[in-house]
């Protein structure tokens, strides 16, 4: 198939499709073991965020991910992958714990955006995202973020303050949904496919802009059918990442992450 010739909009559709593997699909196939941990210790436990302890090639790591559901019922529990303030606070708690026990952090990013409801505003969704950006910038352990589906705006960057950010070939990362972009700038939400092109939101575009370090190839769009092979490849890449960062001092890790964003 002519998979390499997909238009940006076709990739947007793939990135959102119900067949696309979720964070938990990757977590359970990439890592040797995974134990979930829950709650932000302040308010609640957000179903849109999963995370906990994992190990890969014998190295303990912390993983966190934005989780979408497949069925309607599961999507209600997961809030369609739109995290609430308590979700971001949960990721930050797990990352602080990772720092304390010298575990690298692997983040899986897949969200249409942070939840925009009354409760989210009451709970300080802006503050929660800001706090992640602030504290992740100085975390003394390496952070790797992998965009696996939708990378929707502030809700995505709050888990993408990585030393490196990688993206699956058919994932997107954008300042706003193409529909929102078209409706704001052209007052016409139906021009979303055109917007997807202009916005430079595909993995290849992002690589060219210097916003991500690596594009993970999808010979066929990622799905449950090919996730085993994909995860095997990703696993090797992550092991290599961990080896490279093992040699670095904490100050070096923090400084490199600072400079990564400083030049943008």
């Amino acid at each position: 198939m002519s998979h390499n010739n997909l238009t940006p909009w076709e990739r947007v559709e793939i990135s959102r499709s119900a067949e696309r593997p979720t964070s938990l699909d990757y977590i359970t196939t990439i890592f040797d073991r995974y134990m979930s941990l829950h709650g932000d210790r302040l308010f609640g436990d957000d179903g849109a965020i999963v995370g906990g302890l994992a190990s890969i090639d014998g190295i303990p790591v912390t993983v966190v991910g934005q989780q979408k559901g497949r069925s309607t019922k599961e999507n209600i529990k997961r809030n369609f992958g739109m995290p609430s303030p308590e979700g971001y606070r949960k990721t930050m708690r797990l990352m602080r714990q990772a720092e304390k026990f010298h575990r690298p952090v692997i983040c899986f990013v897949d969200t249409p955006g942070a939840f925009c409801g009354i409760e989210a505003e009451e709970g300080g969704i802006g503050e929660a995202i800001a706090r992640n950006l602030y504290e992740m910038s100085s975390l003394k352990v390496p952070i790797l973020s992998i965009m696996i589906g939708e990378g929707g705006s502030g809700g995505a960057i709050a888990m993408a303050v990585g030393n490196e950010v990688w993206s699956m070939e058919n994932s997107t990362y954008s300042v706003l949904s193409p529909e929102g972009f078209a409706s704001i700038l052209w007052k016409d939400g139906s021009r979303a496919s055109e917007a997807a092109k202009v916005m430079k939101i595909t993995a290849a575009d992002l690589k060219e802009l210097g916003v991500i370090e690596r594009v993970i190839r999808e010979p066929e769009p990622a799905s449950i059918d090919n996730i085993i092979e994909l995860s095997e490849e990703i696993r090797e890449m992550i092991v290599d990442f961990l080896k490279r960062y093992k040699k670095k001092m904490p100050e070096e890790i923090v400084e490199e992450r600072y400079q990564r964003f400083r030049k943008m």
Partner: protein, 293 residues
């Protein structure tokens, strides 16, 4: 990525005329700098107000108490000690990462209409005799949206404040990320937040002052990171815009939702400060946080 050089584009006579017309309309409508008429209409209660009354009343409607949005230079004059302001980092230019059609032209137009170079002015001055770095955003310039230049100016101001070991005060006012610069606008959220983290770890003070409106990527980054967070009365402050939330939940939002008072009630603002007290409050906070024993 920032190119310091910029090829100047001259406006056509028609564009110039249009720019002048818009500028004139704006001046008379909102601000005193070039008062064409003696009075204007309050944007909230609609009653006529004498320009002189507004100026004397800190740009607050004497009838209904509505806070008019003020220009950054007016703000600077209001809070800094007289003639202490020294501006930083003028002339920065965006790399136009999306090469978005018409964007550079729009920027030029905005510059001529607003007399501003971008949506933020940064620099250094004194409050009550103490040196401070200051950044003031403006809704007049493309809704105060944050792109590369806004992010860079704010980051440089923070970094310089850290270097010089002085407090930084940021007056936020923004519609969020600058759409025309796409993902690079989003990156400014992290760039500014990371610089504030360093300022924090150096043991230095950051005060954010939320003004109407503060939303989107600015709320979800530096606006919410102050050691002390102040807000002007009645300012709209939130992450998602009210219209987006209404569309999402399909119902009307309650009165006062996402206003300063709402944030105070929910624990996200330290204090709501009236304009006439702002200078004094800032000076008190600075004295308390920068005490050399």
């Amino acid at each position: 990525m920032l190119k310091e050089m910029f090829k100047k584009r001259t406006l056509t006579p028609q564009e110039k005329k249009q720019a002048e017309r818009v500028k004139k309309a704006k001046d008379t409508l909102l601000e005193y700098q070039a008062p064409e008429g003696l009075f204007q209409k309050c944007s909230d209660c609609g009653k006529p107000v004498y320009n002189e009354d507004i100026i004397e009343n800190y740009y607050i409607c004497p009838h209904c108490g509505n806070y008019f949005r003020i220009r950054p230079r007016t703000r600077i004059a209001m809070v800094l000690d007289r003639n202490t302001f020294e501006e930083w980092d003028t002339g920065l230019v965006t790399s136009d990462p999306l090469e978005f059609p018409g964007y550079l032209k729009k920027l030029e137009h905005q510059k001529s209409v607003t007399n501003l170079e971008e949506a933020v002015i940064t620099g250094k001055g004194k409050i009550g005799g103490s040196e401070v770095a200051i950044a003031v955003m403006s809704a007049d310039f493309m809704m105060g949206s944050m792109g590369q230049v806004v992010g860079e100016k704010i980051t440089r101001a923070i970094e310089r404040a850290t270097e010089q070991r002085i407090p930084i005060i940021i007056f936020t006012c923004s519609g969020g990320a600058r759409m025309q610069e796409g993902i690079i606008s989003l990156m400014q959220m992290e760039k500014t937040s990371a610089a504030l983290r360093r300022h924090d770890q150096a043991g230095l003070l950051y005060i954010s002052v939320l003004t109407d409106p503060t939303t989107g990527g600015v709320t979800a980054s530096f606006a919410m990171l102050g050691d002390v967070i102040l807000a002007e009365p009645g300012a709209l402050v939130g992450f998602a815009g009210p219209r987006v939330i209404e569309q999402t939940i399909g119902q009307k939002l309650p009165d006062g939702f996402q206003r300063s008072e709402f944030l105070l009630e929910h624990g996200f603002v330290d204090k709501i400060v009236e304009r006439k007290n702002l200078r004094k409050v800032l000076a008190t906070i600075i004295r308390s946080c920068c005490y050399e024993s």
